[in-house]
């Protein structure tokens, strides 16, 4: 029986402190929604909100996995490139299976299975290099980022991989349709968030993840298999990327070297805006969810107004991100 009381104590006291801070991202999101409504009332129309949330789903799902990794004190820069690579593989696999006379549902299921397996394997490779290879996560995933990015360029022959139109029309509703007007990507994002929250807050694995990030040495002395915890986190991240790709491919039915460009930064930003500590030891799933929505809403609001010069778009984005985190600091410093 591993004695984790010390690490668990640390983790729970960290959580109590973080409870105040946890409100920060929601305050920031609420403020942004008000801003959006003021800028253009169209912002609050159901159609627009559904659009924004559906777009959020890819980086949102990836960011849930990222929350686990960052909570262990690690980082994964390869997720955007991995998403592009598995999108490419998924399209190639589904295009190859189509002439075999399989029903479209089978083709999509096999394609999805492929993405999930490759995603998880890629995550495992990252994890093994980090834990067995004893290389810094930043360097490992910087390396695999380059590898995945050039693999998709290679697969696409420098151009674009496009999904066979027959499968495309069958698969398209996965992005565009849903239940009672709520699109499937939003539903999947919500489910992944709930599962992520349960795993991080209510399971032993979640407590070990937090303990590992809070103090790796202490966690190791408490008989936590730190390497296994980390390995699982990277594999989980790979699975999340696979799931995001499952939702992304039906949108445009194509993958190219520009697919998923910058998703890693967006996912990491969502996690940090959400209040997860960059140095590890404290993860906030719901914070990450609002962080991801904040980032997607900024883009949306800027597109809904002609008042700001397009040349300043990135500056406005930068300001809002910094303000969102400042709001958290204020919330944290309150007693």
């Amino acid at each position: 029986m591993p004695d984790t009381s010390h690490a668990a104590n640390r983790a729970s006291s960290a959580r109590r402190r973080a409870d105040f801070k946890a409100l920060g991202p929601f305050i920031a999101l609420a403020a942004l929604i008000v801003l959006g409504a003021v800028v253009n009332p169209v912002f609050l129309t159901p159609g627009n909100l559904i659009n924004v949330l559906t777009r959020t789903a890819f980086t949102g799902v990836i960011a849930i996995g990222g929350t686990f990794i960052i909570t262990t004190g690690g980082i994964d820069l390869s997720v955007g490139a991995l998403a592009a690579f598995v999108s490419g593989v998924m399209i190639i696999v589904m295009n190859a299976l189509t002439p075999e006379g399989l029903p479209p549902l089978m083709v999509v299921l096999l394609g999805t299975l492929t993405v999930m397996v490759i995603g998880a394997l890629a995550g495992l490779v990252n994890g093994l290099l980090i834990t067995r290879g004893r290389i810094e996560p930043f360097i490992v995933t910087l390396g695999t980022m380059g590898i995945f990015r050039s693999l998709v360029t290679y697969l696409a022959d420098g151009g674009t991989l496009s999904l066979n139109s027959q499968i495309r029309s069958f698969y398209r509703p996965v992005y565009y349709s849903g239940v009672l007007g709520i699109t499937y990507p939003i539903i999947v994002f919500a489910l992944v968030s709930v599962i992520g929250a349960i795993v991080l807050y209510r399971t032993r694995y979640g407590r070990y993840v937090t303990a590992t990030g809070a103090n790796e040495e202490v966690a190791r002395y408490s008989a936590i298999h730190v390497d296994r915890i980390k390995l699982a986190a990277y594999a989980l991240q790979g699975l999340c990327v696979g799931l995001a790709v499952f939702l992304y491919v039906p949108r445009l039915g194509s993958a190219s070297a520009t697919t998923g460009l910058g998703w890693e930064l967006e996912a990491i930003a969502a996690v940090i805006i959400g209040g997860t500590l960059m140095k590890g030891g404290s993860g906030r799933i719901w914070g990450t969810v609002s962080g991801a929505i904040i980032l997607a809403s900024i883009d949306n609001i800027l597109n809904l107004t002609g008042a700001i010069s397009v040349y300043l778009n990135s500056a406005i984005q930068g300001c809002i991100i910094i303000v969102a985190v400042l709001v958290q600091r204020d919330a944290k410093s309150r007693p």
Partner: protein, 316 residues
């Protein structure tokens, strides 16, 4: 330690001695282009490789050294390698950016090499022996003229721009100069970074924001693909048309098939790299006389002429 340094020196010495001996009987044409980081550049790489195969077959005494770079600094390093190691006689280059590559290319010129510049001009045009380029202002102007004519000089349009660069500004300014003189109202313009996903997002937001859009100037075919999906999702295919640009095979195909959503396309062909290589090789091997400039027209692709611009094997 000393031993290994000695070995390295020996190896370097052998390489230096060997290189001119191998290259003496063949003329070498160096080609430096950006790597395939987006659709258009992918087409550029494909056409360059096709031209390399065709030209080396046509001229057995010509060897072509094709290098690709991911950014301006690496491209400058490539130039040094091409001159020092590959011993090129002429250089065809599509500069990543104009200003940072002007001096590195001047060095190559000073080493006595022929210089062909493609697409993006250097800040000092006196360096180049030959300039091959698409016509960005003409592309904007042709797009505007087509839209004005098709819309009967009035209506609402939105514009999706590329990446903030000189190329994008030239297209946009030339387009606006013509549209300003008509009753066409530009509702707004936003950057979509020559990228499908951004085209999709920006267009979704334009559709939420403006209830009446009569036409979209996407000015790039990758952006157009994203725009098409957003328009389909909103169910507004019947209300508007989209004009892209570049000459992507999917778009040329749509024009050929008389798609009402994409009635035309304006060329900005990545094939210009192949033209530049061919002209330069012809000059090197046959001493063919050349004009100083060779501007590829931004031709309007319509169902009538689409066939001649359709390359089904190209990745772009």
């Amino acid at each position: 330690m000393k031993f290994s340094i000695g070995l390295a020196a020996l190896a370097v010495g052998m390489m230096i001695a060997a290189a001119p001996a191998g290259a003496a009987d063949k003329k070498v044409l160096g080609v430096s282009i950006p790597s395939a980081t987006h659709g258009w550049a992918g087409g550029l790489n494909w056409h360059a490789q096709q031209a390399k195969i065709a030209l080396e077959k046509k001229y057995p005494d010509l060897s072509i050294a094709l290098v690709t770079a991911g950014d301006a600094t690496r491209q400058a390093n490539d130039l040094e390698d091409l001159v020092q190691v590959r011993k090129i006689d002429a250089l065809v280059i599509l500069p990543f950016e104009s200003a940072p590559l002007t001096e590195p290319v001047r060095q190559v010129k000073n080493a006595g090499k022929w210089i062909t510049i493609v697409d993006r001009g250097l800040t000092d045009p006196s360096i180049q022996d030959l300039y091959v380029a698409g016509n960005n202002p003409q592309m904007g102007a042709n797009s505007a003229n087509f839209m004005v004519k098709k819309m009967g000089g009035k209506g609402n349009i939105v514009i999706l721009r590329g990446i903030p660069t000189v190329i994008d500004n030239q297209r946009f300014d030339a387009f606006m100069d013509i549209v300003k003189k008509t009753d066409i109202k530009v509702l707004d313009s936003k950057y979509a970074n020559w990228n499908r996903d951004d085209g999709f997002k920006v267009m979704q937001d334009f559709l939420s924001r403006f209830p009446k859009i009569d036409a979209v100037w996407a000015q790039d075919d990758d952006i157009t693909l994203g725009v098409i999906e957003a328009v389909k999702q909103a169910g507004r295919e019947k209300d508007l048309f989209i004009l892209g640009g570049a000459g992507m095979k999917e778009m040329v195909k749509r024009v050929m098939d008389k798609d009402v959503l994409v009635p035309a396309d304006v060329l900005y062909p990545p094939k210009m790299i192949a033209d530049a290589m061919e002209l330069t090789a012809k000059h090197m091997m046959e001493n063919a006389p050349l004009e100083k400039q060779y501007i590829v027209d931004a031709t309007l692709v319509t169902p009538e002429n689409a066939k001649q611009f359709y390359y089904p094997d190209s990745p772009f």
